[in-house]
Amino acid sequence: MIELNEAQARAVTAPEGHLLINAAAGTGKTTTIAARILFLQVEMGIPASSMMSISFSRAARLQLLEKLQNMAMEIGQGSPVSTFTFHGLAYRILRLAANMGETWLKTGFEVVQGAGEASLFFNHRRELLAGIKDEFDRSIAPELYAKALDIARQGHYSLGEAFFDPEDLPGEGTIIVPYEFTGRVEVPVSNVRIVWERYQRILRKHNAIDYPGLILEAHRAIAHRKGATRERIKDGLKYIIVDEYQDTSRAQERFLFDLAGNDVFLNVVGDNDQAIYTFNGSDVSNILYFPKRVTVSGLPVLEPIDLTENYRSTPNIIMLANRILEKQNRLIPKKLEPAKIRLRKDSLVNYPVKRINAPRLELAADFVAREISRLVNEGIPASEIAVLVRKDSEFSRQGGVVRDALKELGVAISSGKKEHERKLLVMRALLEICQYRYGDDIDSLIQQIASGYCDGELAGTTREELVNTLEEAKLAGAAVSYEVIDLLHEHVDAENTTPTGEGVHIQTIHSAKGKEYRVVFLMYLGDKSFPHSSRPDIEEERRLLYVGITRAKERLYVIGTHGKLFADFFGDCAGEGVEHVEYLVPGGVELQGDTFLDDNMMEQLLIAEKQQEEEEERFRAELARFFEEEDNQPR
C-alpha cells in the first residue's frame, strides 16, 4: 500500500484540528497531503464535498489531483476534492456574490491586470493622479502609485498588515516602494488613499477587478456572517488544505482565516526555507507564526509536524543543501526550525555534485551544452534534464545563452515562454466558449469540442488543447462550464512559466518550485547574477539557491564563479561530496604549452619576484605600524 514514514504518518493521521506541516524539500509533501485528504474522508468520515484544497499554481494542482486519483484507486476509496488557486477561489466567490448582489461587481465582470502598460490603472493615470502633490516625476508616478497600492493591498513587512479598504489606511506615513530593483521610494500613504478611492470608482465604472483586488473583494463578499455567498461557499465545508503556505501574502492569510471562521479547520503545508516570493508580496511570517495566529478561531491547534526525510535526492545533494541552509540567518526562533533534511534510505548512485568554475557566462553555456549532449548520448532522456537559471530576461540572458549553445549541438529544448503564450491563448478561447455556454455540463462541453462542433471558436488553439484543459478542470472539481472559468485563473508571468514539453527544460528557479528532475544544472552563480541585482536580498537569494539545489534527484551541477561584492554562493557550495571543475576554455581542456622562457630570463624573474615580495612586505608592515602610532598620538 502507500508507504509512509513515521512523521508523514503522524501528519496524515493527525486528529481534527488546525495543523501546520513543515515539509522540507523532497520529503514527500504531495503524497502526505493526498494521504491526509483521503484519511479525513475514509477514517474520519468527512465527505470530499466538505473539503477544499488550495494550490499555488495549476501545475501544482494537477500534481496533487493526479496523486489523489491514483491513491484513491489504490485503496479503493475516497476521491479528489475541489482544488483551486487563491485567485480561482476568489473569482468563484465573486461570481457567486455578483449573482446574489453581494458585491458591487456585476455578473460578467472582467479580471484585469493590476499595473503595467495596458492596464486600467495606467490608462487612467491622469485622472487617478490629478492634483496629487508629491515630489515624483510624473513619468514614474503612476508606476510608483500602482506598486504602493499593490503593497497596501497585499500587505508588506514595511506595513505589517494588509489593508482591505482605503479608509483603513493610516492618516500619515509612507509606503516604501521598491523602484528599479535597487532603489526604495517612499510614497505618502495619504496620497495612496486618494488614488485608491479614485481607482475603485474607475473599476466600478468598468465592472472590473484586478488580481490583487480579487482577494480583497472576495474577502468582503464573505465577510457577512449571514451572507448568501458565504453560505454557498461554506456549505458543509470542514477542511481547507493549503499548499506552499510560505508564499502566501498577509491579505491571503486574512481572507483564509475569515473564510474558515470558527468551524473550518486549516491544514497548511509549506517550507519557510523555500519562501522565494517575498519580493512579490508573500510574507514568510504566515507560516512561521501559523500555530500562534490561528488560535483566533477558538478551534484546537495541533502541534506542528516536521517532514525531514528526503526521498528525492542523493546524499551528496542533500549534504550540499544542508550546508547552504546553515549559512542562513534563519528568522525563526530555534524551536520552530525544521530539522535538516535526512538522507533517503534506498540507494541511488551517489554521484558527486559538480561545481564548475566558468568565469564567463558563455563558458558556462558551453559547458552545459556539451555535458547535456554527453548525458543524452549516455541515454538520459532530455526531458529529465533541467537547466535552472536565476534570471532569463533580455538584460540577463542566462537561459538565452544556454539555448543558443544547445541549438548548436542539436539538443531538443522545451521552453516556458512559448508555453506561456500558448496557455494564455487556450485560456482566452475557453473563457469565450464557457461564457457563451454558461451553465453547460462539462462532459457535454468536452464532447462538443471533441466532435468539432466548436471549431469556429478555437481562436488559434486546437481541439486537443481545449479538451485537455477541460479535463484538468473537471479533475479539479468543475462540473459545469462556469466553474471551469474559476479554475483557469492563475497569475503567472512569462519568464516564470514551467515548460512541460519534450526536450531539455530551460527555466528560472522560480518556475521550478515543486518540481524535480533527474539532472539539474544550476546557474549562473556570481556577482550581480546570483545573488541577483546590484543590491541583492541575500537571504531570499540563498533560499532560491536552496530551492534550485533540492530540485535535483541524481546529478547536480552548480555553475558560476566566485562572488566578490556580496555573498560568495559559489564558494559556499564547496565541501564534502562536491567535486570542483575548472572550465576556463571552450571544451574545458587547456593548452599544455611546449615552449618556455629561457633559463637566463627565468632566473632574473625569480630573483625579482623574491626581492619584490620582501620589499612589499616591509612597506606594508611599516605602514601598518605608522598608522597605529600616529593614531595614538594626542592631537
Binding site: 576554455v585 604549452g593 601598518a624
Partner: protein, 506 residues
C-alpha cells in the same frame, strides 16, 4: 621605542606625502538655499579625524598605502570603510585585495555607482543615464541655431562643413562636462572663470562663451525633459539633495584612489559625504582623463608640503628606466613645478623587450607566442595584455579561445583580476592594476597616439596625454615588460632610449 618610531616616521615621510589636518572643515558650509534640521546640523558639523593626501607616481604604492589604511580603519571598527574609484576594474581589484587579506573586508565601488545608489535610496527619481549624449548635444546645437540667428560659437577649423559640425559637437560635449564638473552655476560665472587645460587650437572669445552657454542651457533643458542624466549629474545631484540622503547609510571613512580622475564637484561631494575621514590618493603624472583642478579648489589644502612617493617598488629598475626615458619627452610634465622624476627601484629584472610585427595578424601570433611561453614557464604569474580598443581585445579573446588559453576580460562584472593567468584590458581600464608580465600591444602609428587630435585640444597636450597613457600601461608591469609594435611603428617607440630595451624576433 621613541627612537624606533622616529626612524620609521622618517622613513615614511620621506617617500610618502602624508598630510594630516585636524580638524578639517569638511562640508561645514551647506548650500545657502538648503535649510537644515537640528539633527542634520549636528551631522554636518562633525569634526573629521583629518584628511590624508597620498600623492605619488605610478608604481609608488599609493594603492598599497590606501589598502593598508583601509584595513587599519576597518580594524578600528568605527563604522563602514569605503574605497571609491573612478573606473570599475580598479574597484573590483581593490575589493579582491580586501577579500584576500581580511576576513572583514572593506567595500570598494566606483563613485558613480555609489552616488547613484545613494540617490535612488533617497527617493530621487529619474536617474537613468542618457545613452546618446553626442546626439543630444547635436540636437541642442541645432535647436539653438534655429532660434538664434547670430549665435556665436568657436570655429574648429575643419574644411568639410560636416566634419566641422561634428567636431564642434565633440568640443561642446567636453566643455559641458567641464562646466558641470566644476559646478559653474550661471552665464556670468562662466564668463568670469579662467578656463585652463583647454588647448590653444580652438580660439574661444567672450562672445563664443555666451554662445556655448546658450547651447549648454538648451542641452540641460533637453536632458531634463527626457528625464535623463549624464555622468556629471551624479555629483551635482548629491550636493543638491544632501539633506535627503540617509546618513545611516554613509561610510565613516572614505578612501579615494586615482582621485585625479574625478571632477571638482565629484570630490566636493565625496568630502561632504565622508562622516569621519577622507583619504585621497592621487597622481599628477598619471592624469589621463584630462580633468583639471587644484586640490585647494576642492578644499584640500596642500600648502607648503608637497613631497611625493618617489620610491617605486612595483616595477623593476629596468622597467622604470625605460618608462622614464619615454616620460622625458613630455614637455608639459617636465615644465611642471611639481614634477619629480621617479627614482630607480632597488629590484632588478630582465630588460624590457620590443617585438615589431608587419601587420595585425602577425602581432596576434607574436603576442600569443609570448603568452604561451610565460604560461608554461610560470603558471602562477599574471599576464596583462593591454590593447588600444575593445575591438582589438575581442580579436585577442577569439584567438585565445581558439588556442584553448584561459583569459579574463578585466571589463566584465566580477572579473577575477588577482588570480594567475591572462588578463585583457584597455589602456584606460588598466589604471591602478598591476601584473607580473605586461604586453603592451598595438604600438602603431595612428593608433598610439590615436588618430588625429580631437577638436578643441591642443596638439601638444593631446600627444602628452597619449604618452602618459603609454607610460601608465608600461608601469603596470611588475617584473617583465613586452612592447609590441606594428609597422609603421608608433613615434613613441623612437622616443624610448634604445639602450634600455632589446629588440627581439619571434
Amino acid at each position: 621605542m621613541q627612537n624606533w618610531l622616529d626612524s620609521l616616521k622618517k622613513k615614511i615621510t620621506n617617500p610618502v606625502n602624508v598630510i594630516r589636518e585636524t580638524p578639517v572643515d569638511v562640508g561645514v558650509k551647506p548650500d545657502n538655499n538648503v535649510s537644515l534640521t537640528e539633527e542634520q546640523k549636528e551631522c554636518v558639523n562633525y569634526k573629521t579625524e583629518g584628511t590624508l593626501l597620498v600623492q605619488g607616481i605610478p608604481g609608488s604604492g599609493k594603492s598599497t598605502v590606501l589598502l593598508e589604511r583601509a584595513k587599519f580603519l576597518q580594524k578600528k571598527g568605527e563604522g563602514k570603510v569605503l574605497v571609491l574609484t573612478y573606473n570599475r576594474s580598479l574597484a573590483i581589484y581593490m575589493r579582491q585585495l580586501a577579500l584576500k587579506t581580511s576576513s572583514n573586508p572593506f567595500e570598494a565601488t566606483t563613485f558613480h555607482q555609489w552616488g547613484r545608489q545613494l540617490l535612488l535610496d533617497a527617493g530621487i527619481p529619474n536617474l537613468n543615464y542618457e545613452q546618446d549624449l553626442r546626439g543630444l548635444v547635436h540636437f541642442a546645437l541645432n535647436t539653438v541655431r534655429k532660434e538664434e540667428t547670430n549665435l556665436e560659437l568657436p570655429k574648429i577649423g575643419k574644411k568639410n562643413p560636416q566634419a566641422e559640425k561634428w567636431a564642434l559637437v565633440d568640443f561642446l560635449q567636453k566643455e559641458f562636462s567641464w562646466i558641470k564638473g566644476n559646478g559653474i552655476k550661471g552665464l556670468q560665472e562662466y564668463l568670469d572663470v579662467t578656463r585652463t587645460g583647454r588647448g590653444k587650437q580652438v580660439q574661444v572669445l567672450k562672445g563664443h562663451r555666451e554662445g556655448i552657454f546658450k547651447v549648454f542651457s538648451k542641452y540641460q533643458e533637453m536632458l531634463r525633459s527626457r528625464r535623463r542624466i549624464d555622468y556629471d549629474d551624479i555629483a551635482l545631484l548629491l550636493l543638491a539633495n544632501f539633506d535627503k540622503i540617509n546618513r545611516k547609510e554613509l561610510p565613516a571613512h572614505i578612501l579615494v584612489d586615482e582621485a585625479q580622475d574625478l571632477s571638482l564637484m565629484e570630490l566636493t561631494a565625496i568630502r561632504k559625504l565622508a562622516l569621519k575621514s577622507l583619504t585621497i590618493a592621487a597622481d599628477k603624472g598619471q592624469r589621463i582623463y584630462r580633468r583639471n583642478f587644484t586640490w585647494k579648489q576642492a578644499n584640500i589644502d596642500v600648502r607648503g608640503r608637497s613631497r611625493m612617493l618617489l620610491n617605486t617598488f612595483r616595477s623593476t629598475k629596468q622597467i622604470i628606466q625605460l618608462a622614464r626615458s619615454l616620460q622625458r619627452n613630455d614637455q608639459i610634465l617636465m615644465k611642471d613645478a611639481e614634477y619629480v622624476p621617479p627614482e630607480d627601484p632597488k629590484t632588478e629584472g630582465p630588460v624590457p623587450e620590443l617585438y615589431v610585427s608587419r601587420n595585425r595578424t602577425e602581432e596576434l601570433k607574436t603576442v600569443l607566442d609570448c603568452i604561451k611561453k610565460i604560461r608554461s614557464s610560470l603558471p602562477q604569474h599574471t599576464i596583462g595584455v593591454i590593447g588600444h580598443s575593445v575591438e582589438r581585445l575581442k580579436e585577442f579573446e577569439e584567438a585565445l579561445d581558439e588556442e584553448k588559453i584561459p583569459f579574463v576580460s578585466v571589463k566584465e562584472d566580477g572579473a577575477d583580476i588577482l588570480s594567475p593567468g591572462v588578463k585583457l584590458t584597455t589602456y584606460y581600464a588598466s589604471k591602478g592594476l598591476e601584473f607580473d608580465h605586461v604586453i603592451v600591444t598595438g604600438l602603431k602609428r595612428g593608433f598610439m597616439p590615436f588618430g588625429q587630435v580631437p577638436p578643441g585640444e591642443d596638439e601638444e597636450e593631446f600627444i602628452s596625454t597619449e604618452r602618459r597613457k603609454l607610460y601608465v600601461a608600461m608601469t603596470r608591469a611588475k617584473k617583465h615588460l613586452i612592447l609590441s609594435a606594428i609597422e609603421k611603428v608608433s613615434p613613441f617607440i623612437d622616443e624610448l632610449d634604445h639602450n634600455l630595451y632589446i629588440r627581439k624576433k619571434m
